[in-house]
């Protein structure tokens, strides 16, 4: 008889109900391994549909499935080799209200194969509220990890703060870019949105010149195509405005350039051949453009290789052609487009615009392939790592089902062996007593209560930092804000008025010393925020004018007397080479010192901000830093 697992393991699995969140890279591997291992009742949630770039690793999907629900196609594919098991797919967002605490309570274990921080935090909270164990995972390139989160036994997913995605000061993006990523952010978030997105959205595209009033009025119309204006004419006008005129405006602020290299304005007359070719009549896109996502400026212009770095002329040509194609082939979408990494024409436009801007500022140009990776925050992914991680998830899931608490492990999949190990198990950490999610410790918010509005707290703290979707804000018994379908009009109006009030002027005044209670009823999460008034903030470091601390403090405290190193330091990349020396020196035995080496990642996009976390008598250093995650090692 061919048992899929030993009898011991099978008895643990029998009759158990499993929820998988995510049917992507890890999800496909996980569903297959769960089915082969003998799991009989699997539910799987994924809101995504299948894309071509998934097919190199999400092996349950084929070309013909592109556009279909991942959860549903994955189910059908697995039932082909395991027809008798039950797989229930949900083509939906795990944050939808139907997946509430009662929904989670029906499962014996939840397995995450997600790709974003937001959903991970949401699932973590629901698992805590429903008291269901969670096995969490993540991969990037050859690196990966699996962690086990069981309420009150191990740390929850949020016990260690996850660095927020990198944001850039507005002036770096609008006026003083120094890296290619700044040009990408400008091209994507400012220029692309201005030209093709919602016209009513706030946009900092135009630089503030000394004489702000007159120039901003002038430039507002620039982006609007005049009635009957020739499309080529319009493209050249936009080009000259953003790459020429705007740079001239910026240059007029002498102060800005005292310690910086002055950018060079670029006008279309500087690259005559770019416009010339187009006037000679461009090669029409011969592909039938029934799929708007297949329209391509590269095809029209005759550029083929996405790995190649285009010249300024080529970039200018792509810029003008892409703009023209948007207004000719996809006109009905203009006005409500948002950047999508799978939209070829959008990627072409953003690549070209970023490169032209980079030319102005003397920043090295990049290929479309590279630009797409940066603009789309694309996580590197290969099948092998996902397969390994999925195997490790199932091993932990079986331990959880057997309640084999002492053997729970966090496992790290490494690219370079550490003490001979490519797969490194570490005992899970205990819950962080200062965690605002799984403990009741209040947070501290420093804010200017005479200047900041309730909206700032709701949007930038409660939603963005604390990850609440349907928040409610209370001051004592007074409700300051809530959302929901069951509110009457008067309440909605009242809350919306509150949002725009300065904190100290709210009906129930919020000042230094106030304790706010914020709740998310769906996540069944509630926490307190102590408000501390502060007058001034450093605009570069705290562009939001707020500092949130509390659970973060336990980890970044600079003076831990127990630390042999005498304190935590944030190490730049260049110092990493010492790891091998220090770890070899102490590698007497890893059998006895299971916790000696540990690694942690954080979901952080293109960050150059390294957090060095301190555990028990140990300092941490960075092992490697990838596009989306930082790996740290305890030394």
């Amino acid at each position: 008889m061919a048992a899929a697992a030993t009898d011991h393991q099978l008895s643990a699995i029998k009759g158990k109900k499993v929820l998988m969140v995510g049917a992507g890279g890890i999800g496909c591997e996980l569903l297959k391994t769960l089915a082969l291992s003998g799991f009989q009742d699997i539910h799987i949630i994924d809101m995504d549909t299948i894309e071509v770039s998934n097919l190199n690793r999400q092996f349950l999907f084929r070309q013909i499935h592109v556009g279909q629900s991942k959860a549903k196609v994955a189910r059908d594919a697995v039932l082909r080799f395991r027809p008798k098991i039950s797989i229930t797919p949900y083509h939906a967002n795990v944050k939808d209200p139907e997946f509430n605490v009662d929904f989670f309570k029906q499962f014996h274990v939840v397995l995450n194969g997600l790709d974003n921080l937001d959903a991970r935090r949401h699932v973590n909270r629901l698992c805590l509220a429903a008291d269901v164990p969670l096995v969490e995972s993540g991969t990037t390139g050859f690196l990966g990890q699996v962690t086990v989160h069981v309420k009150a036994k191990t740390e929850c997913y949020e016990c260690q703060p996850k660095p927020a995605p990198k944001t850039y000061p507005v002036c770096t993006i609008t006026s003083t870019p120094s890296k290619f990523v700044h040009c990408i952010v400008w091209a994507k978030d400012l220029l692309f949105s201005k030209l093709f997105g919602d016209k009513n959205q706030e946009n900092d595209l135009n630089v503030r010149s000394g004489d702000a009033n007159s120039s901003s009025e002038r430039s507002e119309d620039v982006f609007v195509r005049k009635p009957d204006e020739d499309i080529d004419q319009y493209g050249r006008r936009v080009y000259d405005h953003v790459f020429g005129y705007n740079i001239e405006m910026a240059l007029s602020n002498e102060e800005t350039w005292r310690n910086r290299n002055r950018p060079r304005p670029i006008y279309i007359r500087d690259v005559p051949s770019a416009a010339l070719t187009r006037q000679n009549g461009n090669v029409e896109n011969t592909k039938t453009a029934d799929d708007p996502l297949s329209v391509s400026a590269m095809v029209s212009v005759g550029l083929k290789n996405p790995q190649e770095v285009w010249s300024l002329v080529e970039n200018s040509r792509i810029f003008l052609e892409a703009l023209k194609l948007f207004f000719s082939k996809r006109e009905q979408e203009v006005g409500n487009l948002s950047f999508d990494k799978d939209d070829q024409l959008a990627v072409e436009f953003v690549t070209a615009a970023a490169n032209i801007r980079a030319s102005s500022f003397g920043i090295p140009l990049h290929s479309l392939f590279e630009a797409k990776g940066i603009a789309g925050n694309i996580v590197h992914a290969v099948a092998t790592t996902n397969a390994i991680i999925a195997g490790l998830i199932v091993i932990e899931a079986i331990k959880v089902l057997r309640n084999d608490t002492s053997n729970y492990r966090m496992t790290y999949c490494l690219e370079h062996p550490s003490r001979k190990m490519l797969l490194m198990p570490v005992e899970p950490f205990e819950p962080n007593k200062n965690c605002y999610v799984c403990s009741e410790t209040p947070l501290l918010l420093e804010i200017n209560t005479h200047r900041s509005k309730l909206r700032d707290i709701v949007e930038k703290i409660v939603k963005a930092r604390l990850g609440m979707s349907l928040p409610l804000v209370m001051h004592g018994a007074a409700l300051l804000y809530e959302v929901g379908d069951d509110l009457d009009e008067a309440m909605v109006a009242n809350y919306s008025a509150n949002l725009d009030k300065v904190l100290s002027e709210l009906p129930s005044s919020v000042t230094g010393g106030t304790v706010l209670t914020v709740e998310d009823l769906q996540q069944e999460l509630s926490c307190n925020i102590n408000i501390k008034h502060r007058e001034e903030f450093d605009e570069e470091k705290e562009p939001d004018g707020m500092i949130l601390s509390g659970w973060t403090q336990a980890l970044t405290t600079e003076n831990n007397k127990n630390s042999p190193a005498g304190g935590t330091e944030t190490l730049p990349v260049g110092k990493k080479r010492k790891i091998s020396e220090s770890s070899n020196a102490s590698s007497t035995s890893f059998e006895e010192k299971k916790e000696e080496v540990a690694i942690e990642y954080s979901d952080i996009v293109a960050s150059n901000q390294y957090i060095v976390r301190k555990g028990d008598n140990a300092a941490w250093t960075i092992v490697s830093c990838h596009l989306s995650r930082t790996f740290l090692m305890k030394i």
């Binding site: 048992a3 291992s37 397969a387 999949c413 690219e415 059998e591």
Partner: protein, 320 residues
Amino acid sequence: MKGEELTEQETALYDRQIRVWGVDAQRRLSKSHILVSGLRGTAIEFCKNIVLAGVGSVALNDDRPVTEEALSANFLIPSDGETLVGKTVAEVCSESLKDFNPMVRVSVEKGDISSYGADFFGKFDVVVVCCYSLAAKRMVNEKCRKLSKHVAFYTVDCRDSCGEIFVDLQDYAYTKKKFDETTECQLHYPSFEEAISVPWSSLPKRLSKLYFAMRVIERFEDVENRRYGETSSVDLASVLKLRTELCQANSANESQVPDSLLGRLIAGPSEFPPVCAVIGGILGQEVIKAISGKGDPVKNFFFFDAADGKGVIEDISSNA
């Protein structure tokens, strides 16, 4: 950019992995030819991984008829009974694998390849044998070594919840990139026979116990003339006796090969699917490294035990 460019189709399909290993490695992968013999769960996982990665061709060898046993850890065999009658495991798997990636040529090689001449192996860049007997591992490894062309040779075994990979890259040069520094490296690998002949007494004390346990069972099946995996719990006493003999011959302590570990490895004939996924994943990565010439390859054994969760590299060669 040197060499020919990847096609538009390749660039779109392989986008995410090119971001990991680069265009050059992708090009080399697409020109590589791989032989996989013994299609147990671990090999199936490996095949999936390299077909997705986009190797040039994969030849499958496994003449066993499709039975329920072969199904146990095999997601390449659809469960539509009738149509599979009379087909071999390799034939059915090749059909499913072709589906995974139309750009990879998948074929079937019939017969006992360990009896084939060295020339046969010269057609491939990588030879992987899964769940092979001691004698067959030796034979295929020696034949690969006779060729003037460097053929990368791997054995992979999965017993219960433990797995082992052996790697022979002969003389191997590669570039290593770590912490933004690129260095040229050179490695010399022993053959399988040379590696397992290293006296146990000369090996480091903390060597993975799995190494010894795997050798004991492999030897047991060899002297008893049994096929791979034909050992079961009823043989435990004889296996323990052989363990004692081997430890004495190698002047090694018996505690290096615990009873419990041996008992676990022969407990059942089946593989544990999560371990197949882990071992098949590591093996896939190793083969991709070897073909692309990028990254530290395993030298020369890798062990994984689900019980302690460690995935360990051991260097077992006389000059180690």
